[in-house]
């Protein structure tokens, strides 16, 4: 009986192998996509749709943070780097030194949401308030009309694009050359999910993450810049009313070729954009061309 089973299995595998004869015109290959944790779920879904359409192209998606993606693009260990921030001029300079010439594609837009525990009475904060909280100038929720609790500030690791974006826009208030740093008591957590867990469990915590990670378990704050506060949602990001809105990017080394080009076109096309929308991001308005550089 057992031998029979094994024989059948071998035959089945053999038969499957025979069916695998590839149409020579069909694209085959392997694409390594690495980078932003913010986009990793969306990219995973795009790749699954992509592999349905092109079954002989294999796409591997890894997270780790935008910095990880950009570093591996420079080190030549990935085909597409995903990033939730733009490459810094210094990074481009280093890339060029390594004979890598990054080309940028904006694939979607995202809002950076601030989340607090459901039992926290605070509903809205301004960018100025966030700046005070994240630089340690304000350390108690009392100062914003909340309970008398010390604020626990949560942040992503330094490899995160969201960390970099938040540092520039909130900690340094968008001023170039500012030397403000994150409050040194800030907890640096290694994933967006870890931030969700801590905020869901800790009444005094505040954390930031990509809009796609906001769930029922935590409360997203309304954020104001010049008076009016807006919740982080698709419409407010699209019309730029939500103050912490940003682009999400794919980077390739030079003009994308072969299967990599197919993948980028697919992500920017209607089917790819659909996946970004389903994972909570805002699709780019004009799906035909959306690139610079």
């Amino acid at each position: 009986m057992k031998e029979r089973l094994i024989l059948i299995t071998i035959l089945a595998i053999g038969a499957a192998g025979c069916n695998e004869s590839v149409d020579p015109n069909e694209p085959t290959g392997f694409i390594q996509v690495k980078g932003s944790d913010t986009i990793v779920n969306a990219a995973q879904m795009v790749s699954e749709e992509f592999m349905k359409e092109y079954p002989h192209v294999f796409v591997a998606i890894t997270g780790g943070g935008s910095g990880v993606g950009i570093a591996s693009l420079i080190n030549g260990t990935c085909d597409v780097a995903t990033a939730s921030r733009e490459m810094k001029p210094k990074e481009i300079e280093i890339a060029n030194k390594h004979d890598v010439f990054p080309k940028e594609f904006t694939v979607a837009y995202d809002g950076v949401a601030l989340i607090v525990n459901e039992n926290n009475p605070i509903e809205r904060l301004s960018i100025e308030d966030l700046h005070k909280i994240y630089t340690g100038k304000a350390t108690n929720w009392k100062e914003f009309g909340g309970k008398d609790m010390e604020i626990v500030t949560l942040s992503r690791e330094v490899s995160s694009g969201t960390h970099m974006y938040f540092k520039e826009e909130v900690v340094q208030l968008g001023q170039k050359g500012s030397t403000e740093e994150f409050f040194n008591q800030t907890l640096l957590l290694s994933s967006s999910q870890a931030i969700v867990e801590e905020v869901a469990a800790n009444e005094a915590a505040i954390g930031y993450l990509g809009m796609g990670y906001v769930s029922e378990r935590t409360k997203a704050l309304l954020i104001s810049k010049d008076g009016v506060a807006y919740p982080p949602n698709t419409d407010n990001v699209k019309n730029k009313k939500y103050p912490l809105s940003r682009g999400l990017y794919f980077y390739t080394n030079g003009e994308p070729q072969g299967v990599t080009k197919l993948f980028i076109d697919f992500a920017l096309g209607p089917k790819g954009q659909q996946q970004f929308m389903e994972t909570g991001f805002v699709p780019i308005g004009d799906t035909s061309v959306a690139q610079k550089n």
Partner: protein
């Protein structure tokens, strides 16, 4: 003749494997040394060793290793303080007191404890132990050094238990018989005769436990909060050297200042474990005499 050839062959094999290990250790050290020394061409050595802030992506970047070193030190001391009494105590129980059937059950349970992957422990730390400690001790956050120390103590327990148990079992029976013959109780024998005679093995167990704890990465990265501050107590978030290397290595471009700085941190870790092993070795030799 035939015997001679096989003897020679086996001898050479053993000699070669010994040499290979030495070559590995030396080349790892040289590799670390080369990349970390590259840092000091571009970054001040004293700022690295005595710098009080670790800000790797700021302009200009600061690579002060003091907060990371103290983070590792605090977590390790905490873990050892929790782990050693527990571990040596259980080893004494298993080796000397427990009845045979319980001995088998306990030994296999200790082995299972050793088989738990560190990520799983880290997850338990995030979801359960962190919130529990926060409520129990009324802290701001459960992501603190103590959570890390407790979980690391769990991880080091199997090492400490099994090696101390071996040491206790290895004490010659005659010692015990002599003590009993002089009218000592079971406790007096265990505490004054067996434990001191096994001290060399127990010190080795503790040192290996320290080695395990200081090199552990995943758990501390998940539960200690990773704030690069100079810690004042175990009850606040801190960042260890291992978590820094693991958390930041992926984003560095090879050959950059940050990359070399992480290697320099790795070199410090290497030197620390080297010193620990060296001390353990000296202790062992002294105890044997």
């Amino acid at each position: 003749m035939h015997k001679r050839i096989s003897e020679y062959f086996i001898e050479t094999c053993i000699k070669l494997s010994g040499l290979v290990v030495i070559i590995f250790v030396v080349s790892i050290f040289l590799f670390l040394l080369k990349d970390s020394l590259s840092l000091f061409g571009i970054y001040n050595f004293r700022d690295f060793l005595f710098g009080k802030s670790w800000l790797p992506i700021s302009e200009p970047a600061k690579f002060g290793v003091v907060p990371l070193f103290l983070g590792s030190l605090y977590v390790t001391i905490g873990a050892i303080v929790i782990c050693v009494p527990l571990g040596v105590g259980s080893a004494m129980f298993i080796a000397e007191v427990a009845p045979a059937y319980l001995k088998h059950v306990l030994k296999s349970l200790v082995e299972i404890l050793a088989a738990i992957p560190s990520v799983v422990l880290g997850f338990i730390g995030i979801v359960w132990m962190g919130p529990f400690l926060r409520n129990a001790l009324n802290l701001n956050t459960g992501m603190c050094g103590l959570t890390g120390s407790l979980l690391l103590a769990f991880m080091a327990l199997p090492t400490v238990i099994s090696i101390s148990e071996d040491a206790l079992i290895g004490v010659p029976k005659t010692f015990k018989e002599a003590a009993f013959g002089l009218g000592a109780t079971r406790w007096q024998t265990l505490w004054r005769i067996v434990l001191p005679s096994a001290s060399s093995g127990i010190i080795a167990a503790v040192m290996l436990g320290v080695g395990r704890v200081i090199g552990e990465t995943m758990v501390v990265m998940m539960v200690t909060g990773n704030s690069p501050v100079i810690p004042k107590s175990l009850l606040q978030p801190l960042r260890t050297m291992t978590a820094t290397i693991a958390g930041e290595m992926g984003e560095t471009v090879s050959g950059s200042e940050h990359y070399f700085a992480l290697f320099a941190v790795g070199l410090i870790l290497f030197i620390i474990t080297f010193i620990i092993n060296f001390i353990a070795d000296i202790c062992l030799r002294r105890a044997r005499r």
